[in-house]
Symmetry: C2
Subunit: 191 residues, 2 copies
């Protein structure tokens, strides 16, 4: 296998491990065991643990971005509902890793933060890619005030989903999705 | 001055310094200079830097809680608008310290997190203290789904305010307040 392919494979393995491990738990040792190769070879491919972590996190962010892309065609709100549902599934499937990325980003690791913020900005910026007529239906004008609101809305969605995955209490998945689906139009109408 | 009083005074000084300093910048050295007393005496009062920081942060959280308390009597939405306005002013006045507290809490410092989460929970839990008839006006029933939504809403408010204080771009203070005032009823209506 070519070195580039092998490297890609190791990154994918890291992304899979990140679903059930925090970033701190994703050590070169764990990875060497899982990949069945020596630590030395891992250092050869990535240079060090930090570099490996960043490559994995960047890949994980790309996956999130792809998984939550609007699928098919239809009214903006329906596409958004689909994206939100896949976002919930992504966080539920990758809870430990997602949480540790979020924590690392919030805790002041500049490289993690820039990956995390770019991923989140991409998710929200994508809303403004819809045709103006589509956006007008829910009042999503491209103004600084609406951009600020949408930025806050992404924090709302993340908080609600992470909180629910950690402990759903008596909130059903359907109730969760209802809460999320209506949230952006609800906030926009209130402007 | 009695030792208890002196200790209180040093905590208050820390809270004032926290407005323009991050928690990391709030060293025993800075404090000794500002208070005009020896480092030894500070260690005597607080035991160490970490203990001093926690005392300051706890006091700062209490202040935030007091400043954002509903004032006077009136419809729930009007009281909430007043609280939100004072929250904006608090964050603007204490930006560096507020940000470092938030970062410390998000970054996995358990003691900071528990202070921060208790402060935020208190702010949102307080909404449920209003009379049921008042709450009914905006659809604030006490159900797990609404509690989850309110928790997410507090993340929305914090993100919007911190983002705006850092860089208001072209969003006026009035537009910011409009965004905040309508947000909770907008989210609740969408349920």
């Amino acid at each position: 296998m070519a070195p580039g392919q092998r490297r890609e494979q190791l990154i994918d393995l890291g992304v899979r491990l990140l679903a059930t491990h925090s970033l701190e738990e994703l050590s070169i040792e764990v990875l060497a065991v899982e990949a069945g190769i020596s630590r030395g070879l891992l250092y050869h491919y990535f240079g060090g643990k930090q570099e490996y972590h960043l490559a994995v996190v960047e890949r994980a962010a790309e996956r999130l971005y792809e998984e939550t892309a609007p699928q098919g065609r239809g009214p903006a709100l329906e596409l958004l509902a689909g994206s939100l549902e896949r976002y919930v599934d992504h966080v539920a499937r990758n809870y430990r890793g997602y949480l540790s990325l979020r924590r690392g980003a919030a805790g002041g690791d500049d490289e993690l933060r820039s990956i995390y913020e770019a991923a989140r900005a991409a998710l929200t910026d994508r809303l403004f890619d819809a045709a103006p007529a589509e956006r007008a239906v829910i009042g999503l004008e491209d103004t600084p005030q609406v951009r600020l609101l949408v930025h806050g809305w992404s924090a709302f969605v993340e908080e609600v989903v992470v909180d629910w995955v950690r402990d759903p209490r008596d909130v059903t998945r359907t109730q969760l999705l209802t809460t999320l689906h209506g949230s952006l139009p609800g906030l926009l109408r209130a402007l």
